[in-house]
Symmetry: C2
Subunit: 398 residues, 2 copies
């Protein structure tokens, strides 16, 4: 099969979408075309650049409004948000947490920060995220429900939580997953680090988890330099999230009292200022990114052996990172595709190494990961910056 596929077809299709003056192109670049400078200057002028300041409050409100959750707590990054979300779900040392094998390392790392063990589950090709049906069959085999929750009878450990991760912005099929969580008494945390602006059945991702998280790293749909947020519809948990991420200090004019082991995970006001300006442009970014996705669909239409990943009917995706899925028959050409596209000035990247394949997690429990392995062999992320989806003559004030 190898000889039968011409990688230059992929390069040509990408160049059809990417304007010639835009090569070299990164996978995802931020865009600072709004009030970023104005807010930064205002923040600096106020001298409130640190942990007290109006931009943090405003940014949190903008996030809550946009995602329709009751409470958003801005933190230093998505990893910190996951750590606190797991703590607030009651994950304790020795527990297991179900995590897709196909994810960024932060999802699994955060579990270990709680002294818990990641337990890897498979993905499905139609969402690139956790496969609820397969997980249900697996739990039927290995889980025993008792008064404490679900116990993994192979390890004797409690399975306390599951973290569906909306990979590359595409929503996991949440409803069947929720049914399983109810049946097995497992808490759900949505890792929505990549899915700000993505909807499941008309509602923004992050609304189903007991807590959920966002990320605003430099490569995300909006950025605060580094940053993240904890989302929740439980106001009590939201208050606790704020408290725990602010060194668990009890408010007082001068006294320093802390009632829990807390964390210094607050987002500085200067980063939140950037975030406010970015949030104002989010609808525009999403529109451009969705347009870019449709341009890619068009450009690759009819190319045998290569499909551009597309959202499910129940999903409206932000298309954070567009992805090519190449046929199994040409999967041994993936590294050549990466090398040749990058050589042509077009940044591409494979999916993350599967978590169970990292030495640090190789002894963690895992179900059959056939689909995740196949996706991981066949997926290539392609340039997805919002600016690439800008329409000529588009009203920039839109």
């Amino acid at each position: 099969m190898r000889a039968s596929f011409d990688i230059n077809l992929i390069v040509a299709a990408l160049k059809k979408v990417i304007p010639g003056d835009r090569i070299p192109v990164a996978l995802h670049e931020p865009c600072f075309g709004g009030n970023e400078w104005r807010y930064l200057k205002d923040c600096l002028g106020s001298t409130y650049v640190s942990y007290v300041g109006a931009y943090v409050t405003r940014f949190e409100q903008m996030l809550a409004d946009f995602t329709s959750v009751k409470k958003a707590v801005a933190v230093v990054n998505g990893t910190a948000a996951l750590h606190i979300a797991l703590k607030l779900c009651g994950v304790e040392p020795g527990d297991e947490v179900l995590v897709p094998a196909l994810t960024f390392v932060a999802t699994a790392n955060a579990v270990t920060y709680c002294g818990a063990v990641p337990h890897f589950v498979d993905s499905e090709e139609r969402t690139l995220g956790l496969d609820p049906e397969k997980m249900k069959d697996y739990l039927r085999d290995i889980a025993v429900i008792n008064a404490f929750g679900s116990i993994n009878r192979l390890t004797g450990r409690r399975i306390k939580a599951v973290i569906p991760m909306h990979a590359f912005g595409h929503p996991v099929d949440i409803d069947p997953l929720l049914d399983i969580c109810r049946e097995y008494n497992i808490e759900m945390i949505e890792d929505a680090a990549e899915s700000l602006g993505s909807y499941y059945k008309g509602r923004h991702t992050g609304n189903w988890g007991k807590l959920s998280i966002l990320s605003f790293n430099g490569n995300k749909t909006i950025t605060t330099g580094g940053g993240g947020a904890i989302l929740t519809n439980d106001e009590r948990l939201g208050g606790l999230a704020k408290h725990l991420t602010s060194t668990a200090k009890i408010p007082h004019a001068w006294e320093y009292r802390h009632d829990q082991i807390g964390y210094n995970y607050r987002l500085p006001n200067v980063n939140a200022a950037l975030g406010c300006a970015q949030m104002e442009q989010l609808p525009k970014f999403i529109a451009r990114k969705r347009r870019l996705a449709s341009l890619y669909q068009l450009a690759f239409q009819g190319m045998e052996g290569v499909t551009v990943f597309a959202e499910q009917p129940f999903a409206k995706s932000n298309y954070w990172l567009n992805a090519l899925l190449i046929a199994e028959s040409i999967s041994d050409m993936r590294d050549d595709i990466l090398a040749i596209t990058n050589k042509n000035g077009i940044m591409t990247r494979p999916a993350w190494t599967l978590m169970n394949e990292l030495a640090i997690f190789k002894d963690c429990p895992a179900m059959d990961l056939g689909v995740a392995k196949s996706i991981s062999r066949r997926l290539v992320n392609i340039p997805s910056s919002a600016v690439l989806g800008e329409e000529e003559g588009e009203d920039d004030a839109a």
Copy 2:
């Protein structure tokens, strides 16, 4: 005694130093009079606001140059820096770490993040920091040296490390402490969060610890919004600190491989840009802060029952936060002093609640803490922003 002290004397002395147009005054305000705006603008223009970018490298080099350490690693805050420093010193779950009871909660929290137990030690009044002589006598009583290091024979746990914290910028007496560390095979980490610009016997604080840490919170001598750094003279450990704080990712053009449980503790480039501009002004800030300290000395000269804390002959302090020490005989007036000064628009604050007095740490081992308790009853921090030490007609470009 109570009736014999007039709190208005303190208010009057403070007002003698603080310009009338400066009331209300905060305890420590940042000053953005340099290249802050220029560098922020440049950073935004480059679009490199996140974890890749020239300002991080430049900021790290400026820190290393200023403190004369071999390697500085910029991180998200001082707490994160302490966590990684402890890990790299080999602190393991179940170990004990000697920590002054008189410190900010982050010092003790970071120990718990490693699964270790803070073990509280006393301070001495001449430095406000850890008392090496008293700690030596204590270790003679409780520590047994064996092949694994020093074992606390009361708890059976290994005493792996000690964290001298240079309180309010004043250097701990390091040399005798180093002797003890050698004798008992205990690693030293300097918590220099408050002592950027402070020297011990002519050398910058942070040079003696196996690793040391700095903080750049909004209330510190320089600020990056939120930020911190790990310092070390061991280049191998410096490299490991960078690796561990950057998700332990192995460098590769597109592959995602992580060889350890890592952390997302990197300082964003946008915060580092702020840091570079602040570092350029650090010598000026220190000069102003030291001038302010001498103005306070003058204003309180001869006031019975109140002394302004002054550096030891072996120390050159940044006087991060100036401190009044009131006589034991009037210590029951401390809260009145706090209330009346704050009511007069002059922010003052007591020392932190002693760590062993927080419910979260009350079961941790502790030596006799008589001096820390006395300092904690008698100390009042007074406004210490660099701008308050500005000399009329001072060359602003200095």
